[in-house]
């Protein structure tokens, strides 16, 4: 790993992260998004928001479990992609699905728990996106920055709950995401409190 890499990996990862968006644009122009393309786009963007959120959470888990420090280099980018897809998801909902029908949109936000929760998650993502540049980390100070970015835990939970609430009957897919999230959060809890569990066991 020593020395400078010749192949620029980061731009490559960046392009890979953009693929879902390219795929949708390609689908729009080729008419391959099915009978209800607006629904397909909205749902795909929702799926990718949640996937990038979980991927962002998985990065430090992988570092700890596998000892791969280099993965941390991609965490900011993955997190920003989560915001990117969340923003597009909301934009499609407002500008295409409901075509700026603000009365309906407002009613949705206050009346339908899954939208209320999705909206809350999105709003909470904004300060994280705004404070993602290195300069903001310095400005805030590492400890405060870390504390603020703990918000990603409730955001991810809300993302899964949002999905769980919106399916009509088949909860298997949101439960899979829930399971992954449980593992990622569980690993953190275990790391934090696990030792005292071990200790408690050993003195019993």
């Amino acid at each position: 790993m020593a020395g400078k890499r010749k192949i620029p990996i980061k731009p490559f990862v960046f392009l890979v992260c953009l693929l879902p968006a390219f795929w949708l644009v390609y689908g729009i122009f080729t008419g391959t998004l099915g009978a209800n393309p607006i629904e397909t786009i909205l749902r795909d963007l929702g799926d990718w928001t949640l996937r990038f959120l979980l991927l962002g959470l998985a990065i430090s888990t992988v570092r700890r479990l596998m000892g791969w420090a280099w993965v941390m280099r991609y965490r900011r980018m993955i997190g920003l992609f989560a915001f990117f897809y969340a923003f597009l998801h909301l934009a499609v909902y407002i500008g295409i699905d409901h075509f700026f029908d603000w009365a309906t949109i407002w009613k949705d936000i206050v009346k339908r728990p899954y939208i209320t929760i999705g909206m809350t998650a999105l709003l909470l993502l904004i300060p994280l996106a705004v404070t993602s540049p290195k300069i903001m980390v310095r400005k805030l100070g590492g400890a405060r920055w870390k504390k603020l970015h703990k918000l990603v835990y409730p955001i991810a939970i809300m993302g899964v709950v949002h999905f769980y609430l919106l399916v009509k009957a088949d909860v298997r897919e949101p439960l899979i995401y829930g399971g992954i999230l449980l593992f990622l959060l569980g690993e953190r809890l275990y790391r934090r409190y696990g030792e005292s569990f071990q200790f408690a066991k050993s003195i019993r």
């Binding site: 008419g31 029908d101 949705d108 009509k168």
Partner: protein
């Protein structure tokens, strides 16, 4: 060099060819497919190919709105027996065999019995009915159904006066319906209508779409079509019809009683907890359009519900 660009606004072949020519070409394609399938898979069961229905007459109940495309009608379906994704019914119905098929009719009637799908199609005049169809998920389509009035079939079994409701049941067969392997909803799918709703002239037992037998994903070989109610009332692949005296509990009522009622009449003023019902997206269109009371069939059916609180009886 010749490159053919296809862009979204190009007319689809369906729009530039006459419908007859389009259907004929599809027949040819299907026949070719069937032959090649037979050549490759001589021993395995063949995929079901819906045939043209002969002698269909037009109905005055038809709307003259623009039809949805055959491909959209047959690829965007809610039919959880084949899976919960909209494309699952098309993708997972290759092994479905809607023939032979019998429907058992029993319960509170003087003349219980069975009727085979061939008899039903042979003995009853098949009519084309172009109806709007409104899904509870706030999308809609215009579909040219083929079928018979439910009333004309029900009368043959001579319901007793105690019969107040009619209950319908879908086939239960996880081998043919892979979705039934998981208890996503309580199988088999069950629906119900009040007697006067079942006997209403708009209520159709559909055997086909676009002049052909129903493909599996649309509820082959026989399904209900109640155009003034949300789509989930229009139960598919029916094997049993039963006359009863008590209001049947439909599958969705059982699944989520606060979200789905027995009546499920299309009503822009009563929201589903998860969707507004005031507007709908007609498949193929960009803008949502206002939803009409009773899906635009108020003139014909509003009287059935006179004096009822439609907010409570949703």
């Amino acid at each position: 060099m010749l490159i053919k660009h296809t862009i979204a606004s190009d007319p689809k072949s369906f729009e530039i060819t006459s419908k007859a020519a389009y259907l004929k070409r599809r027949d040819f394609l299907k026949a070719t497919l069937a032959l090649s399938a037979a050549a490759i898979l001589p021993t395995s069961a063949q995929a079901y190919l819906p045939q043209k229905i002969e002698g269909i007459i037009k109905s005055p109940f038809s709307t003259d709105e623009k039809l949805n495309k055959y491909d959209d009608v047959t690829s965007y379906n809610n039919f959880y027996e084949f899976g919960t994704g909209k494309g699952d019914p098309l993708d997972n119905s290759g092994d479905f065999q809607p023939k032979p098929w019998t429907i058992k009719v029993d319960g509170l009637c003087n003349n219980p019995g069975e009727i085979g799908i061939e008899d039903l199609m042979g003995q009853y005049q098949q009519e084309e009915r172009i109806y709007r169809m409104r899904c509870v998920e706030a999308w809609s389509m215009v579909i040219p159904w083929v079928g018979v009035e439910l009333a004309s079939l029900l009368k043959k079994f001579d319901p007793k006066t105690e019969a107040k409701y009619v209950e319908f049941t879908t086939l239960f067969d996880p081998k043919q319906f892979p979705g039934q392997k998981y208890p996503i909803i309580a199988w088999p799918y069950t629906e119900g209508l009040r007697m006067d709703e079942a006997m209403h002239p708009l209520t159709l037992l559909a055997t086909g779409i676009f002049g052909e037998e129903l493909p599996p994903q649309n509820g082959a070989p026989i399904r209900l079509v109640v155009p003034w109610k949300y789509g989930f009332k229009s139960i598919k692949s029916i094997v049993r019809i039963r006359f009863v005296d008590k209001m049947p509990t439909s599958t969705w009522m059982q699944q989520a009683p606060s979200e789905y009622g027995f009546y499920a009449n299309v009503n822009p003023d009563v929201d589903h907890p998860r969707w507004t019902q005031a507007k709908e997206r007609r498949i193929g269109e960009f803008f949502r359009r206002p939803t009409l009371a009773f899906n635009g069939y108020a003139e014909e059916v509003a009287d059935l519900y006179k004096g009822m609180d439609l907010r409570k009886n949703f």
